[in-house]
C-alpha cells in the first residue's frame, strides 16, 4: 500500500528551540540542515554543538534533499495505533548526500519496490499542522 499522507492523523513533530528552523524550512519545501563553521561537516538532527568537533558555530544551510536508502522495513503492525490505517507502509533510513542519516517514510512507491541503495529525494507533505520531509524515488 502507498501511504496517503494527507489521510494521516498521527503524532506530530515536537520541535524544540534548537530544531524549530528545520521544521519551518520544511514548511517552505526546503531540507535545512546544520553545518559546522569550523569542521565543515553537516549535522542532523539539529543541536547546539557540533558532535564531530564540539564547535558551537553551527550554521543552517539548505541541503540537496537527495540521498540513498541505507535500509528499510515494511511496517505491518505499527508501534503507534494512529499509523494502522497506512499499514503496510515503508520506513527507511536515508543516507543524505551531505553525510548525515535520517529516518523517514517512503511515499510514491509500493513496499515491494523498496531496495537498499535506492536513490531518493525529499517530498514535503502536509500532515496535520506540520510539513514532513518524506522521501520518494529520485526517478
Amino acid at each position: 500500500m502507498r501511504i496517503d499522507p494527507h489521510a494521516l492523523s498521527v503524532p506530530p513533530p515536537t520541535p524544540t528551540a534548537e530544531t524549530l528552523p528545520f521544521w519551518q524550512a520544511a514548511r517552505r519545501g526546503e531540507l535545512l540542515l546544520q553545518r559546522c563553521a569550523d569542521c565543515s561537516r553537516w549535522v542532523f538532527y539539529p543541536r547546539a554543538l557540533c558532535p564531530h568537533c564540539w564547535s558551537d558555530r553551527l550554521d543552517w544551510a539548505p541541503a540537496s534533499a537527495r540521498g540513498t536508502v541505507r535500509s528499510f522495513t515494511v511496517v505491518h503492525k505499527p508501534g503507534h495505533p494512529a499509523w494502522a490505517v497506512a499499514a503496510p507502509y515503508t520506513v527507511a533510513v536515508i543516507d543524505l548526500e551531505e553525510g548525515p542519516r535520517m529516518l523517514s517514510a517512503l511515499v510514491g512507491i509500493e513496499p515491494a519496490e523498496a531496495r537498499v541503495g535506492l536513490a531518493v529525494r525529499a517530498r514535503f507533505v502536509e500532515v496535520g499542522e506540520w510539513t514532513l520531509p518524506f522521501f520518494e524515488p529520485a526517478g
Partner: protein, 382 residues
Amino acid sequence: MRAAIVGVGEVPPQRSTEGRTTMSFLADAARRAVADAGIGKDRIDGLLVGPQVGETPQHVPATVAEYLGLQPRMANVVDLGGASGPGMVWRAAAAIAAGMAETVLCVLGNHREPVAPRSPNRNPIREFDVPFGASGANTAYALLKTRHMAEFGTSDRDFAELAALARSNAQTNPTAIWHGRPADVDGILASPWVAEPLHLAEIVMPVAGGDAVIVTSESVAAGLELPHAPVLLTGAGEMVTHRAMSQAPSLTTGPLKPSMAQALAQAGLGIDGIGLLSLYDCYTVMLAITLEDAGLCAPGRFADWMRDHDLAPGGDLPLNPNGGQLGIGQADLAGGLSHVVEAVHQLRGTADGRQARAARSALVTGNGATMSEAVALVLEAS
C-alpha cells in the same frame, strides 16, 4: 576487576499479573536471590535498580530500598536498557572495589499492565522517528535485518534458525513462556510479519517477571557458608554509541564488538576459551550480529557457523540453554539480567534439566535501545 556472584533469583515469566505491582516483582526476585545465597537480607549494603516508566519514575533506589526494608550505603539507577543487568554486575564489582559497599543487590522486574505505559517525551526519537511511522523497537531491528540480508545475502531461513533453536532449548525449561510449544524453521517463517522482514516469532514475547543477582567480593564470598559455589566475574566491557537507529555508526556491527573484546581480554581468554554463550536475544538479528561481533564467525556467516555446532544444552557450545529471551519471554529490563542468572546456574551446576556439560566460562551480553547500549561480561566457575 573481579567479584563473586553468590546468589541469583528469577521470578517465572508470566503474561498477566492482575493485582500485582512492579515493586512486588522486585521483592520476589530479591527474596529468591537472598535465599539462593543463603544469607540474611541485612548483609546487603548496596542496591542497583533500573528506571521505571510506570510506577516510580524518580527516586527509584530510595523507593525500592524502603519497600524492601534496606538501608544501603550505595544506591543507584543503571539506565542502559537491556544492557542494564550486566551493567549492574560490573558496577557492583566496581563499587565493592571502591569500598562503597560490600554486598550489592542488583534487581530488575516488572508487572504487566493491560495497556503498556508509554514513555514520556523522548526526543530526538519522538521528534524525528515517531512522526514518520517509526514507533518502538520492532521497526528499528527490522532495519538491521534488511541491511544484514542486503549486505551479506543472508536469508529469512538463516534468521529463523536462531528462533527455532530458542524454541527448542526452551523445551528444557518448564518456566519458559514457550515451553510446550516448540517451533521449527517453517513454523517461525509462518508467523506473521510485524515489521518486514521481521516475523512475529523472531521477536521476544513481552512478559512480567523479575531477576536478581547478589554480588560480593571474592574475600567476603570465601568467608561465607554458601549453598552454591560462587561464580566469578573475571572480565567486562561496555560501550554506548547512539540512541536512534538512524544515528547508528553501523547497521551490521555494534558496540558489543569492542565490549566483548575487552571483557575477554580482561579475563585472559580468547573466544575459543568460552564454553557457554548467554547472549542477549531481543530479536534474531541481534543474536546474529552478536555471534559475528564476538568473532565466532566472519560477518554474515552466522548461519554456516550454526550448522557447524550443536548449540543445545548438551552440545559442544550451548547457546542460551534456557531458551534465551526468545524462548522464555522478555520481562522488560529484567530480560537483560536473565542472561546473567542462566550463566550462573550453568557454571555452578544448578541448571536443572538443561545442564551444559562442564562449562567453566561463559560470555554474557546485554544490549539496549537500538543496538546502542552494550555490556559484555565473562563469568567463570570458581
